[in-house]
Each structure stands twice: as C-alpha cells, then as structure tokens.
Amino acid sequence: MSAAFALFLHDLKLQFRHGSDLVAPLAFFVLAVLMVPLGVGPEPNLLARLAPGMLWITALLATLLALDRLFQRDFEDGTLDLLALAPMPLELIVLAKVAAHWVTTGLPFMAIAPILGVMLHLDSASFVTLEISLLIGTPVLSMIGAFGAAVTLGARRGGALLALLVLPLYVPILIFATSAIGAAGEGLSSRPHLLLLASFFAGGIVLVPFAAAAALRNALE
C-alpha cells in the first residue's frame, strides 16, 4: 500500500515538474466554456439552460486532452516496463497513476467550475450539485480515460483514436451528471442521479484497473 502511495506522490512530483502540461487542459476548459456565449448569444436564460451540459461537455473534452501524459511518456522511455515489473500489482499502479492524474485535472476543474458557472448564469441552486457531480464524476472520467489511453498505447494516431473510443463510454456519466444539476436547478432532489454516478465510481474503481492493466500488458508484449 505504501508503495502505491509512493508512486502516487512520485507521479504528482513528475507532473508538477512538467508544469506547462498542467495548464493546457485547464486553459482549454476555460476557453471552451467562454466560447459558448459567443456561439449562442449572451441571453441569460438560454445560457442558464445550457450551462450544466456545456460545463460537463467541456470537462469531458478537456480530460481527453490531459490523458496523453498518463502513460505515453512512460511507455516511450521504458518506465512502463519497470512499472510492470515492480513488486506491486499493475492494477494498483494504474489506480495510483490515475489518482495522481485526477489531482492535476479533475481537482482544478472543480476549483474553476463555479467561476465558469457564474459566467454562464448557472442557477444558484445548482452550484453545490455541480461541484458534487464533478467530485464524483471527474474521477470516473479519469479512470475510463486511463483505459482508453492504455488501450491506444503504441497505436498510430493514438490521440484522435482516444476520443473515438472514450467519448461513447462517457455518455452515461454525462447524462447523469447533467441530470443531477438540472434536477437541483428545478428544486428537485439530485440524490438519485448522484447516487448513480457514485455507483459508476465504485464500479469503475474495481473494474477499470483490470482492463487498463490488461491493455498495458498487451502494449508491452
């Protein structure tokens, strides 16, 4: 267990030393959201209706952008070989790396989202649910994205391919996260939607590491 934590910290350290890597997805998130009023007009009611969906869609796309740094460098410089041979299960290694990745993608998204919500005239009743949905949902995005990154390792045009593979798998998360926020905005309970999201989180934590580890082993063969 402590080895996994050591890997988590190590990965975090590496990510922070490549500081410019961290900025790009966050900048994309902010810019893409700011494009929305420019594209559909600044009418507050319209923006308020679009806000939950647009915030989540841009979070999805920004996560995709950030997935590149999860395994690609390690694969290219031989670190992945060593990780596969480390005295801990590869599945645990995947979890540690995904956790470190989430800290530098999902967590900043959660921090910035309320500001963007204000700019999109998001319903004041929805802000808490927005944050909770991001808290539960972005780790699932990172996990499924990690699977996509693992399975496209060594593939040509891996980046474009990643979007094609991962976006269909993101559909349920998008649907339940936005419906949770929408429910909150109408004064209804967002609990059932959030609980479903939480079940994806629980299922993902258990299942995704196995799929991703299998994909990684395939890439190393």
Partner: protein
C-alpha cells in the same frame, strides 16, 4: 516466432551470455525471462517452481534493464534511484549503488543534463540498488566508457558472489567468468511447419 527449442538452466552465482545478430531474439528472450512477454509454449522455472503460477514472485526475483534507460528528464539521479529502490523497500541502498557506478558527483543532476553513458549508469545503479537475485540485462554496456564497463563488471562479480544470477545480451565483450551462453541465431525456427501451430 523468433526462436524455438531453447532449453537452459543457470545456477545461483552463475551467468548466461546471449549473443546473436540483430533480430535473432536476444531482447525477446530477456523480456520473456523478465515476464513481460509470454512464451508461445514452454515454461520458466525458478527452484523447480513455474513462474507463470506466481507472477508476484516472478517480479520480486528479477531486475530488468532494457534498451531504454527510463531516466526522467526532470528528476535527479538520486531521486530516480531512490524512488525505484524504495518500491522494493531498499531506499537506503541507493547511495551505495550510485557510488558503485561512479555517479556520486552526479546525484543531484537532473536527467536532462546527463550524457547517454551517464543515463545508462543511472539505469544500472537502479538495478544494483533493487537487490533482485536475477539481473536481466539487455546491452548493458551501450554508451559506457572503459572505466564504467570495469565498474559494471565489478558489480556483476559482486552480485554473483552473493549468489545472484546475471543474464546479459550483448554485442560487446564483457567479463563474465564461467558464464554459459548461446547464440540465438542457432535457434531460429527451421521452416513453416513450426508456424502450423501458430
């Protein structure tokens, strides 16, 4: 299929030298022994136990050095060596390992400032610090000068004296007294009949 019909054993303290032209499968065999590749048929055993039955044990037993050095540009030599050693619970052995490979003056240097020979030495220090009984080295001397090769040979001798095993694939001459070995070109599949089962 790259090779077929291999059958060998290496005792504790022993060494195996793999030679052969490019593409003959030296790297594949080393990766296979590390557990990164599964054989199409056949088995790998340690002390009479099949390693495929216990992948965790397999990982504990081996230290692997591939073509790449796995040296991160933004990490210092010490940070990298200590991290990998700490995964095996041997963080305190990192200093000695770096010293053995002549890296004592470079411990705080970041990977991106190292020459290829220095990176190779850092990778070797990692193997030494890890303390695994079986060292699988693929072209360990690439980029090393005479002094560093001597340091490597000393490390190999010390490891074997402690009962460890060294398997090395190499083009260059390297002192491995009493090593068994073979040329992988001698084990190429004969004809397509061997492909039938594939």
């Amino acid at each position: 299929m790259v090779f077929t019909g291999l059958d060998f054993a290496v005792p504790a303290g022993g060494a195996l030298l793999l030679t052969g032209p490019n593409g003959s499968g030296k790297s594949s065999l080393i990766r296979l022994m590390a557990g990164l590749i599964r054989p199409y048929s056949g088995r790998l055993e340690h002390d009479g136990m099949r390693l495929s039955d216990d992948p965790a044990l397999h990982r504990e037993l081996v230290a692997y050095l591939g073509h790449q050095d796995a040296v991160k540009p933004m990490l210092s030599v010490a940070e990298g060596t200590r991290f990998w050693a700490s995964l095996r619970g041997r963080r305190d052995k990192a200093e000695a390992a770096m010293a053995m490979m002549g890296l004592s003056d470079l411990t705080e240097t970041a990977g991106r400032f190292l020459s290829s020979g220095q990176r190779r030495r850092a990778a070797l220090a990692r193997v030494i610090a890890g303390g695994a009984p079986i060292w699988l080295l693929d072209e360990p001397t690439v980029g090393l000068d005479v002094k560093s090769i001597a340091a490597l040979e000393a490390a190999l001798a010390m490891h074997r004296a402690e009962g460890g095993i060294v398997v090395a694939a190499t083009h260059a001459p390297i002192a491995l007294p009493g090593a068994g070995g073979f040329n992988l070109a001698d084990f190429e599949p004969e004809n397509l009949a061997d492909e039938e089962a594939a």
